[in-house]
Symmetry: D2
Subunit: 366 residues, 4 copies
Amino acid sequence: MKISAQKFLTSGPADVVALEKSIDDGEIVAGDVLCVIGKTEGNGGSNDFTRELASYALEDLFSKKLKISKAEVRNRIIFSLSGGCEGVVTPHILVFSRSGEISKQKFPKKRLVIGSGFTRGFRPSEIGRQAQITETAFVIKQILDEMQIESVDDVHLIQMKGAVPDFSPEDAKFARKNGQSLRCDMSYSRAASALGAAIALDEVRPIELDDETVCQDWSIYSSVASASAKLGLKRTEILVFGNSNYWQGDLEINHGVLKDMLDTESVSDTLAGLGIVADNPEDPILNRIVGVFAKSEADLRGSIRGRRHTMLNDDDISDTRYSRCVLGAVIASVVNDTSIYISTRAEHHGPCGGGTLAIIARQSMQ
Amino acid sequence: MKISAQKFLTSGPADVVALEKSIDDGEIVAGDVLCVIGKTEGNGGSNDFTRELASYALEDLFSKKLKISKAEVRNRIIFSLSGGCEGVVTPHILVFSRSGEISKQKFPKKRLVIGSGFTRGFRPSEIGRQAQITETAFVIKQILDEMQIESVDDVHLIQMKGAVPDFSPEDAKFARKNGQSLRCDMSYSRAASALGAAIALDEVRPIELDDETVCQDWSIYSSVASASAKLGLKRTEILVFGNSNYWQGDLEINHGVLKDMLDTESVSDTLAGLGIVADNPEDPILNRIVGVFAKSEADLRGSIRGRRHTMLNDDDISDTRYSRCVLGAVIASVVNDTSIYISTRAEHHGPCGGGTLAIIARQSMQ
Amino acid sequence: MKISAQKFLTSGPADVVALEKSIDDGEIVAGDVLCVIGKTEGNGGSNDFTRELASYALEDLFSKKLKISKAEVRNRIIFSLSGGCEGVVTPHILVFSRSGEISKQKFPKKRLVIGSGFTRGFRPSEIGRQAQITETAFVIKQILDEMQIESVDDVHLIQMKGAVPDFSPEDAKFARKNGQSLRCDMSYSRAASALGAAIALDEVRPIELDDETVCQDWSIYSSVASASAKLGLKRTEILVFGNSNYWQGDLEINHGVLKDMLDTESVSDTLAGLGIVADNPEDPILNRIVGVFAKSEADLRGSIRGRRHTMLNDDDISDTRYSRCVLGAVIASVVNDTSIYISTRAEHHGPCGGGTLAIIARQSMQ
Amino acid sequence: MKISAQKFLTSGPADVVALEKSIDDGEIVAGDVLCVIGKTEGNGGSNDFTRELASYALEDLFSKKLKISKAEVRNRIIFSLSGGCEGVVTPHILVFSRSGEISKQKFPKKRLVIGSGFTRGFRPSEIGRQAQITETAFVIKQILDEMQIESVDDVHLIQMKGAVPDFSPEDAKFARKNGQSLRCDMSYSRAASALGAAIALDEVRPIELDDETVCQDWSIYSSVASASAKLGLKRTEILVFGNSNYWQGDLEINHGVLKDMLDTESVSDTLAGLGIVADNPEDPILNRIVGVFAKSEADLRGSIRGRRHTMLNDDDISDTRYSRCVLGAVIASVVNDTSIYISTRAEHHGPCGGGTLAIIARQSMQ
């Protein structure tokens, strides 16, 4: 089997014209599509309707092409759309497809494989606590088992949409009285998702963390997580990206850890791991880059490299918008590509003020 | 004579505590101070009062130290404060002083020299047209004559605050009737200031431009201008930064042209011209950087390196804020310093979508 | 024949649940629907995708219910969606249907009638000039002829989406050279639409205006226009709302002119004309109000009732957002209803700083 | 003794030109000035430097006029500056002076009296809890004793700047471990200030509230509080406004409770209590209004009068800016004056979604 990927720059959140043409031209087989990951040009916040508009257009398209209902489309394809194309970031979607036969035979080169799964539904009291972490880790391990991956070192990106189940004021009051105030918000859900990934990949041992670690001890983190969270979502959606000798195609993934938002060195190192030297922005070798996924946020301590930043004290513009703008610009300046997937709020994603980075590149076909 | 420079990171627009201490400690002689260039943490727009607050505090301080009135302070010291510390940019002020005796003798190394001057007052009808360009060029040449600079190649930064004189609705109507609609706005004033610099430094020959060039033909530009504009200002304030064998001290300036906002190569090249290799962000050699001045803006054509950006179509956040955020992050990632002077709106400052860049660094004292 | 109207408060731009239920329950006949006018919760600017999302959902719904393509839906039903629910304004849609037989007989009471039409396609050079004004007026008069309206005094609202055809840089240059710089923008299009309405209703005589009036002489205006404009739209879409003795139903419309954005007196007077006394916010009589349509903007002179406002000098928040917030709050405080249609940019809509207002209320059925 | 008040519309935060002229002309005696209350045109948030700029200019002025240091000015005059002039609100300052002899004799009419005082310094653990509430109530009662006020019914406005002392991460951790997580933030400080006022004026009996009431039970509130809070402030500053038969002058104050942000009825009732009928915006009687002080905020339940508002879900614009815009517009539409003091965040200030309102008007001189 092999994973294919195609990127489409969009003219707006609802633009699926080029994708539709690719399907019509036979370049993409609609039935093979696994997931669509993209950036839309909203504010990335609670009133960002560009994700909904993009989903609407994508579901419509696949419903038409696959001749199934929109609900069936949603069950079949994972849409992971993130709002916020601040600064130089170009709105785009990246479409991943799976095709071919399962192989029992190992190929010489490791190639990209994608696994997916869902946690069980969570109760509000579980979010941001051990229960969510443990279940998330458990499901990731299950997915890994199915992916024909040899080692956790071959996992480079775990993209998650974390559960934030609805709860009533009574639930909140009951929890408060029991001394376990609810943590059922997006911040804690992202944090626990990331820590679940860290446990699953043996980055952190279960004994090293407890409920108090979550959103408190930033020295404990995952190097490959990329978690968002969604209000009202009952279970966490998980996509795991790794490399495997049992998979073919021409895609390979690598990852790095960003020490801070200006860490171009880690970007270069991650490229180097894929055999790409980023010293010349006009080098066609950079065209081999298929997808860049980065997660970071404004350093919570209010400074970067020892100097004050003002992102956290600006009531006019959210620090998440600044962070995406900074991160997108810095990475684009190295990879010579502005159509990159950057995302903010990075609780336990790399060190405080830093984050996680994954890059998918084309290699020789095998 | 020599130019000295000291940078102070500020905790807010009115923070002059460290500067005052430096004066009290004798590190800076208040009477030697030529100009203060700084970034304050406002929005950089028409309702940015952080510049006014910073000016208030600085004038207050120098009035107290020099025992002269605030009006006299304003006549003596040029304050060039720019709002907008988006993203990682650290609010700061850079204080330039001049001391020593005029030298008739040439020293082996060229060192930083700063000249200053003012144009005559402009009429509203002159702004954005040949009259402003010619007068600006004329005054820059006069300043150069006084600076003991050998060649226009030794000029690396011309910092200007452009005139935008007040006018009445009748003035506007009169001009419109005469077929020469007023251009008396900040955009045209910055444009004409930059073109004046280009003429003064022989980057452009007078015959190559006319009134129609201004804000139309972006292929005509200056490589060293950094112009802002101020409503109500009658004459343009000009600061010229260059290197001269007749000046001592340990400061040298160099400049480059940014091809676009992601052009890290030009930043590296400009550093290289000062003998600084920027391949290692932890190299203490980067500490030699004293001041970085960059000017650019969101590419007016709506794309960067062939891909769409959304900075010009966002009604929530001004493209100037995005641009400063991008530019500050990209340059900081190379120079390992977030206290840099970035400024936007860059009409005829470098190519369309690009801009101008100047860096001052410490060298051996002579 | 009669016009019916139903209002649905929405939980988001794509919420058509209640409307669909009304259709399924037979309360609304999908085939009778004439137009849908609504407010969505975006920023009302160029990157407001909530209108597109709402249109997507509405077209989808009517396509399903009428079993026709989305393109056919768009040809059949006018969707007039306006972004920006600042402050207390509640997102909502108002669905107008037409049913029954054409009557040759006059009924005792005048009741609401809606007419619609389109101008011919405009050339870019016509926008904002006499050509657009004249054609707009001509089409409005044609629509009036079909509406069985006795007098222009019976017209109370002309809702228009103005053409702003695409043009090339060459078109612009050609026009500039001919001394007739293009006015092909949203501002001029709205202005000419409003002036067209003023001509059609004999508020202004053709001789009283020329090209120079447009966006210059604010004393010339319409009292019933409500024009928006859309980039890329080739022809202007027009909806005319009036009262007629030949129409039945229980709806009546009235209008007033807002002297400024705080003009509660005109709101009360307009209600009074419909027999509604607005002295008690808990009076159930206010429930008779079906739709409120207001258009205004921040006074361009920078003051209101002689005192300075800061709406035009705030680079963080657009004056259109402030204006809708002010207008929505002031009107809601009188009509005790926050689900009102407020819209900004009001060139030649009422006096400078004021605007137009129309209210539809339920009366006795006839 | 008597209180005088003069209002100055400002052209910017640092504008003290008209105030200085009034002092120079002898209309205001600098030594009599008690407090200056004003609105500046910033965002009202953590990066609003317009308050600091206004303070700078006012302290400068009074330092010059009183020939005392700025620190002495700050000890002598209370400056209560609030950022945020959204919508139609006009930036202005209101200067209150006290003059004359203390009277033991009662005058026929009650006239405005202002008292002031400070709480003791608070520990971080006391903020938002009974300790802050009790001390605030205690100090208010002390102030009342000095004001020659007969009854708590004569108190109409208690303007407070609440303490939010600095604390260390260790303080926070210690408190968390002891099961009493710190509440040392602006929200809790405002809440406890308001509840202190409620206790002092017998609106609430001490037994009716405990630590759990604060920011939880919104049915417990003050009708006259107007509290802000300031990070780093150790003690709460308190100004009490009431009417007394022992005071002369021509000013009287009255207050009302806003049921919600559209509650024009309460505005009219409060005016009526001062003998002002607000039915005609052009009635010169409205000129008698000297100061309007209102405090409210976007209803936390997400709806107003049963209909959804979107103020709490907009990541582009803070709900405090929307709230001030709404409140300012609604009140201005009744009092025909846009230079009003509106302030947001209204924890325990009137009912949830409502707020407090006080109006000072000129009456006959006695």
